[in-house]
Structure formats: structure tokens, C-alpha cells
């Protein structure tokens, strides 16, 4: 390579300079500071003690609740989202419903956080409309039967509101990719609808479904605002615990906070890694 070529090559990388500087300063350095912080004690000496503290029952249980919440809402979102998406894409419904559903899903998947929490309080809270309606019309006392919006299942119900639309958006291309010919071919060979799904449809969709499940899992795992607004920080999920840690509400040990945050990053990293592998697998059928 000649000198001028090498110079030009270096010059073309220089064009990325401003963006890379920003990314290093505000994305990579903060991430690294969490990493280093979780290996230090209060005075900055290397230690592994923070990770030992992660094994405390309270912290383990908050990881367990967060993982359960993410898995449950991702599973419900995946199944319902796939069914709705299939219904509007190839269920024989009028075409207009499909574009309406896609547009609405775009809005609903972005409608999270504080306003979403309020909407569910107005609907299913103690004085919510549906709660009141159930009592006056059907004589059913929702809260008397053990339900609470501010509990695990209440929060799950709220999360599904943004999980299901995200699923509809994510899975739509894969469902569009399910060719009509495959169904016709299997039918002409005598397969029933159940056989088609069991032997052809689901195996083809499976990587896409799993990838979408993992995306939804990560989406719920990192969510802070909805839980914060709904439960006021009462439910011990990991993002809430980290938030309390930063504001110095409990524990009073920032380094334990770093270890908590690092644990979260590790879970998210594994999730994204799996997501990318599965997407690659799924893309074989979407040509």
C-alpha cells in the first residue's frame, strides 16, 4: 500500500471521529465505570465482596422477581402478539385492519412509562372504572378476590400493554414470509391444518418467535419508569433497586449498586447475543 493510500484510509476513519468521541464519552466510559466500580470497595481498593453481597437473599429474590416478570410478560406478549399478527396478516381479515393494527402497535409500544401506569390505575386500580364496573354490574369484588394492580400480576398485566404491540411489530415480517404455497403444498399432500402447523409452520417460525421472546424479555428487564410510577418503588425489581441505590434510599453502598447494575448488563448482553443468533437463523426463511 502506498503512503497516500494509507493516509486516505486513515482520513476516512477520521470522519467517524466526532461520533466515536461521543460514543466513548457517554456510552462506553459510563459502562466501564460500572464495571470497575463493581470490583472496588468504598475506598477504591480491589475486592470481590460486592459480588458476594449479590448472593444476599433480598437481592437474589429481586433478580428472581425481575426475571419472572420479564419471562411471564414476554411469554404472554409473544403468544398473544403472534396470534393477533397472524390474524391481521393472513387470517382473511380486511386489509385495512392490518395497516391500522401496525400503526396502532407503533404507538402503543411507545406508550410506556408514567402515562401507561396512570391508564392502568384508572382502569384496574382500587377505584378504577373496570374495578367499579365489575362490582356494580357483575357483583364481583376484584380486590376482595386477591387481585391488586400494584402486585406482580398487576404489573405484568400493565407490561403486556407495551409487550404485545412490540411483538406484533417484530413478528409481522416473519408471518408475511410464511408463504401460502407451503400451506397449499402441505394440504395437497393431505396434511390437516394441525399437521401443517406442527410440521411446517411452527418449525419455520420458531427462530423468529424465540428471537422476539428474547427481545421482549430484555424490553421488560430494563424497564424502570412503568414500575416506578405504578408501585412507587414498592415492588423489589432490580431496576427499582438500582434506582433506590443511586438516590441513597437503602443499603447505602454504591459499590453494591455497581454490582447490581453489572448483573443487569450481563443478563441483557446474553439476551442480545441470543437474539442476534436467532435472528440470523430466522432470516434464512425471509428471502
Amino acid at each position: 500500500m502506498s503512503r497516500s493510500q494509507a493516509l486516505r484510509k486513515a482520513g476516512s476513519w477520521l470522519g467517524l471521529g466526532p461520533f466515536l468521541c461521543f460514543a466513548i464519552a457517554f456510552m462506553i466510559l459510563p459502562a466501564l465505570s460500572i464495571l470497575t466500580g463493581s470490583f472496588m470497595d468504598k475506598s477504591g481498593v480491589f475486592t470481590l465482596a460486592n459480588f458476594a453481597h449479590l448472593a444476599k437473599p433480598t437481592i437474589l429474590s429481586s433478580y428472581r422477581v425481575t426475571i419472572e416478570l420479564s419471562a411471564v410478560t414476554a411469554a404472554i406478549g409473544t403468544i398473544l402478539g403472534a396470534l393477533v399478527s397472524y390474524a391481521v396478516v393472513s387470517g382473511g381479515l380486511p386489509k385495512a385492519l392490518r395497516s391500522f393494527t401496525i400503526t396502532f402497535s407503533g404507538v402503543a409500544s411507545n406508550f410506556a412509562g408514567v402515562p401507561l401506569a396512570f391508564a392502568f390505575i384508572a382502569t384496574l386500580g382500587r377505584t378504577g372504572l373496570v374495578t367499579a364496573l365489575a362490582k356494580t354490574v357483575f357483583g364481583f369484588d376484584l380486590y376482595g378476590s386477591g387481585f391488586s394492580l400494584y402486585s406482580f400480576w398487576g404489573l405484568s398485566l400493565t407490561y403486556v400493554y407495551f409487550q404485545m404491540p412490540l411483538m406484533i411489530l417484530t413478528i409481522e415480517p416473519a408471518i408475511v414470509g410464511l408463504r401460502r404455497e407451503w400451506r397449499e403444498a402441505s394440504e395437497s399432500l393431505g396434511a390437516s391444518s394441525g399437521t401443517f402447523w406442527l410440521r411446517v409452520g411452527l418449525p419455520i417460525l420458531m427462530p423468529s418467535l424465540l428471537a422476539a421472546f428474547i427481545l421482549l424479555f430484555g424490553n421488560a428487564f430494563g424497564a424502570y419508569a412503568t414500575a416506578y410510577a405504578l408501585t412507587g418503588g414498592m415492588l423489589n425489581i432490580v431496576p427499582i433497586l438500582i434506582g433506590a441505590q443511586i438516590r441513597g434510599d437503602v443499603l447505602h453502598d454504591p459499590n453494591l449498586g455497581y454490582a447490581l447494575a453489572l448483573g443487569m448488563v450481563v443478563v441483557m448482553f446474553v439476551a442480545i447475543f441470543l437474539y442476534l443468533r436467532l435472528q440470523k437463523l430466522a432470516s434464512r426463511w425471509q428471502k
Binding site: 457517554f26 456510552m27 459510563p30 400503526t103 448488563v265 442480545i272
Partner: protein, 265 residues
Amino acid sequence: MRRADRIRESFSWLWFGFGMLYFFLPLVATFLFSLKGRKGILSFAAYGNVLADPQFLKTFLFSLEMAAFTIIVGLVLIVPTAIWIHLKLPKAKGLMEALSLMPFVIPPIVLAFGLIKTYSKPPFALVSSPALLVAGYVVVSFPYMYRTIDAGLRAIDLPLLTEAAQSLGARWTTVLFRVALPGMRPSILSAVFLCFATVIGELTLAVILAWPAFGPYMALVGRDLAYEPAALSIMSFALTWGSIGLMQFISNRSHARRVRRPRVP
């Protein structure tokens, strides 16, 4: 119609109806709830109370300002970088994809934590400056902005257009302002609306970095009042609907234009 198709269609209606119920029931309930601000009658009293609160305007304007800065900084950083990569450095696409996944791996709550730790002490004591909040918002919206703009660039085949313009004697400024940017307009507008929808009601970064933004204000109202939060929820849904709806309208229109163009095999 065959029996199997009929069964499929009725199941489709069932699931579609269920989806719509899940989507709209909370919205309708919230709307009706928000009308109960005055005892005994339905009224827009709760909306009046919200709008009359000086904190509402103050925090909303603050978030609007932050959104504007985030959009400007985001576009200035991302648009030239994306153009540069498409024209001169296609090799960097992988790097950008990897970087655009980072905000998913580092959730906002962890990012806020890291920003505080990195920028709370000299030489970079930025914690008391809203610049740090804007930087955080740019990080959070970067994946969406970059992907939207990258998709827009793919659609117009910028290297080909640049070559054509240059062979007709255009200077690089002409290429940039008369070819690249006009062609990217739909994707840039989409990125702007997406960024606006993300920032305007954002809670996590604003709460942790302690700024009086719209998101924390809404959370505060929700703690003390009953009907006003419902009104805020409806207003903020309208805002999300407006910005995301506009974004999809724009991208659909530009997509339709693209499809109508004759295809060369």
C-alpha cells in the same frame, strides 16, 4: 368459501377483537375516568386543573427544550456519520451496528448510574449541567435514529447518486445539500418524531439526574391526585399518537413512492 377458511377467519376476528380490547379498554376507561374531575357530572375539569398548574407548563417546556437539543445534537452527530459511512467507509457498518446495540445492553437506569459516576467529579463535573441529560437522551435515542437514517440512505443508494452528480460537475456541497439531504428527508423527519416521542415523557434519566422534566412531574402528580393523572395520561397518549402517527405516515408515503418507481430486474 371452504369450511377451514371460515373457521380461520372467525378465529382471526376473535384474536383481532381481543387485541383491540386490550389496546382500547384502558384508553377508554382512562378517558372516562379523567372526565370525573367534578363530582356527579362529566366534565373536563381535570384537564383544566392540569393546564392551570404552572408546574405543568414549566416542566413541559423544559422537556421540550431537552427534546430540541437532543434532536439537534443527535442529527448533527448521526447524519454526517451515516452519510460518511455510506460513501467512504462501508467497512464501519458493522461497528455502528454493534454500537447501536449498546443502549439495549445498558438499560437507561444503568446508563444514568454510569453517567453520574463518570461525570460527578472534576475534571468533568457535568452532573449539574443539563448537557449531561441531553447526552444521555442522545445515547438512548441513538439506535432508533441511526437505524431510521441508515434505512433511508439504503433506500436512495447514495454512492450511485453521488457519482452521477459528480460526473455532472457537482461540488460536494451541492451533492450534500441538493442530493443527499433532500433524499434523506423522510428518514430524518421520522428520526425527529421518534426522538421527540422518546424524550418528551422520559422518566428514568430525568429522575436519576434530578431534573424537573415532564416525566418526573407526571409521576409526582400521580402520587397526590386521582383524576388529573388520567387527564395527563390521555394528553400524553395523544402526543405519542401524534408523533409516531406522523412518523409512520411519512415513512409510508416515502415507501409508497419507492414502490411505485419501476423496478429494474
